[in-house]
């Protein structure tokens, strides 16, 4: 059973259309929802929570209809908003216990679950201090804890890595991965960075301007638009020439060489090229994608432009060609 299914979901506001005929179904697991700011991600979450009636279309969450069973949905899901939503003058413990009780947990269970959940998200002694003194990373953990404290079957995490430094971002992504894998709770996580969602999600849905751009398993994305970034100490131009002679598509970006991954042989090509020229290889990595790149060759974004690329990209219906070339 899909955890979330929408059919022709449309949301029009007086000035903008936030969602435009969105039909998508996602299976349990960690699901990423990617889109530029204003693409309709937060609106979609509000609709799925049953708080905002859509202009048209239907949707169901965990098999419950958003229009008729909104209250039931809100009992079994958790929600972590993208904005700061914490009162500064209470402690994390007090706040999370209160939120657990708002989910119907009896007092003793609420206290127990709050302590457990705060520990799981990595808040220890500091949880007894008022939230006003917390760092951004700690606040994000409290927000996550309040979304998990009533043991939901599905959590909506809206931009959980927003405002975090790289280390905090990694920890948050690890946590999200664990929520899906260890806790057994399905996750819908939004971000405007596809790169970070690739790391934790099983499935990624991309929306732009309220329209569905793509919905497919993560492996398919890395395969479809993978490019390799190669940095060598010096002699990058020579390496570039060599690779081009051997038929690889190479672009130069400053000190970096960007090589399109045609498959497993591309890695060998670079490795051999570096070895043959006797260059010092500093790094060779798959480039993290930004959402904008997907938009450029995505169907529906600019239909008039680059049709060949758009067609060659794997579509949801086509089975992926396997995980080769997708190191993660």
């Amino acid at each position: 059973m899909p955890i979330i299914a929408t059919q022709g979901l449309t949301m029009r506001f007086p000035r903008v259309t936030a969602l435009d005929d969105l039909s998508v179904a996602v299976e349990p697991g960690v699901v990423g929802l990617v889109g530029a700011n204003g693409a309709g991600k937060s609106t979609l979450i509000k609709i799925l929570l049953g708080l905002l009636p859509p202009s048209a279309g239907t949707a169901s969450v965990l098999g419950l209809d958003i229009a008729a069973e909104g209250a039931r949905i809100r009992e079994v899901v958790g929600f972590m908003p993208e904005y700061d939503c914490l009162p500064p003058d209470v402690s994390a413990t007090e706040f999370v216990v209160h939120m657990a009780r708002m989910g119907g947990l009896p007092p003793s269970a609420a206290r127990e679950r709050a302590a457990d959940t705060l520990r799981h998200v990595g808040l220890y002694e500091e949880r007894y201090r008022p939230i006003g003194g917390y760092s951004t990373g700690m606040r994000q953990r409290v927000k996550l804890a309040q979304a998990l404290v009533h043991d939901p079957r599905l959590v909506f995490l809206d931009e959980p890595t927003n405002g975090l430094d790289p280390a905090g971002r990694d920890e948050m992504l690890d946590l999200i991965r664990r929520i899906g894998a260890e806790f057994g709770i399905s996750v819908l996580v939004t971000s405007h960075l596809l790169g970070e969602l690739e790391r934790v999600c099983d499935h990624v849905v991309i929306i732009d301007g309220g329209k569905l751009l793509r919905s497919q398993a993560v492996a398919a994305y890395t395969e479809a638009s993978g490019v390799l970034t190669v940095e060598v100490d010096e002699g990058g131009d020579r390496l570039g020439r060599l690779l081009r002679e051997q038929g690889a598509a190479v672009r130069e970006e400053g000190r970096l060489l960007v090589v399109d991954i045609a498959g497993e042989p591309t890695y060998d090509l670079v490795r051999d090229g570096v070895a043959d020229l006797g260059l010092r290889l500093i790094r060779m990595e798959q480039r993290r994608h930004h959402i904008e790149e997907i938009f450029q060759d995505g169907p529906g974004a600019t239909a008039a432009r680059a049709p060949a690329e758009a067609v060659s990209a794997p579509r949801p219906g086509v089975p992926g060609t396997g995980p080769e070339g997708a190191p993660r």
Binding site: C85, L86, A109, E171
Partner: protein
């Protein structure tokens, strides 16, 4: 991660009982009532409510003490005039604590967290309003009770009449609490910054009271006591006092109250309109905030 040892405990699912709407409503009420007195919060949040509570007790205690020494019944304050006489203290309590309940969760955007849970919009508003009403009622009823019990202990004359007047005053206190909370919550809910909220509530109280007093002063100069009485409906304390005088048989504590039982009914109806209107306005305000 250095915390991996603790993470190894593993996640446990919760299969216990989940209580329904009544429990959530009650939890919400208790949480807000605690917030009104700064409980579960840093010490500085407790200073104002408890200081004002203590000040409220002083006249009652003093009055009982004076009666005990002098044994003259007229030194005991009238129960029904306790809130009007101490209205400045009550207004300050309302101004400092209504924003704690009404605007704090709006300002820090906590409200959407409630509505993403099984918490109804109306339940949410009713719980908040009821919490402030209870807090204000306690602020007024405790000193009135001290006055009554003190009178009993020191053997004030005519205990039967005392009890009746005491019970009437408690009803009055409840009505004061309802009307003041309704006004305070609405004003605070539309001034999200706490400082402005405090100022706005005080301003509404001061302006309405001052304007009514001025008009009443002029009317009394012109010996138009009827107009003066009806004007009293536009100041919150005077409004409830009208109900106390005309329907609960108390003596008037305000400059003037409107004449006749009918005026009491009108005043009571006005109180009901204020409370229901406040619930409606707050409902819309919080519902909108839940979607932001």
């Amino acid at each position: 991660m250095s915390t991996s040892t603790i993470h190894d405990i593993g996640y446990r699912h919760y299969d216990g009982r989940r209580n329904g709407r009544a429990y959530v409503l009650r939890s919400l009420f208790v949480h807000n009532l605690r917030a009104a007195y700064g409980l579960g919060r840093p010490a500085r949040a407790k200073v104002m409510p408890f200081l004002l509570g203590a000040i409220m007790l002083l006249p009652a205690a003093g009055s009982v003490a004076v009666f005990a020494v002098t044994d003259r019944p007229e030194t005991l304050m009238r129960y029904s005039s306790y809130p009007p006489n101490l209205q400045v203290i009550i207004a300050i309590f309302l101004a400092t604590q209504a924003p704690v309940l009404a605007s704090r969760e709006l300002r820090f955007r906590v409200v959407p967290l409630y509505f993403s849970r099984p918490v109804g919009h109306l339940d949410f508003v009713v719980a908040k309003l009821a919490a402030l009403v209870t807090a204000l009622f306690a602020l007024m009823a405790v000193p009135v009770t001290v006055l009554y019990v003190g009178g009993l202990v020191t053997k004030a004359p005519d205990p039967g009449d005392q009890l009746l007047r005491y019970l009437g005053a408690l009803l009055g206190c409840a009505l004061f609490a309802l009307v003041l909370s309704a006004i305070g919550m609405v004003v605070a809910a539309f001034t999200p910054r706490r400082g402005f909220g405090v100022a706005a509530v005080i301003a509404v109280y001061m302006v309405s009271t001052a304007v009514v007093l001025i008009v009443q002063g002029i009317a009394e100069q012109e010996t138009n006591f009827t107009l003066s009485g009806w004007m009293g409906l536009f100041a919150p304390f005077n409004l409830v006092d009208t109900v106390q005088v005309r329907l609960l048989g108390a003596s008037k504590s305000s400059v003037q109250v409107a004449p006749g039982t009918g005026a009491g009914v009108v005043a009571l109806a006005l109180c009901a309109v204020i409370v229901l209107g406040s619930v409606a306005v707050l409902y819309r305000r919080f519902r909108k905030a839940g979607l932001s």
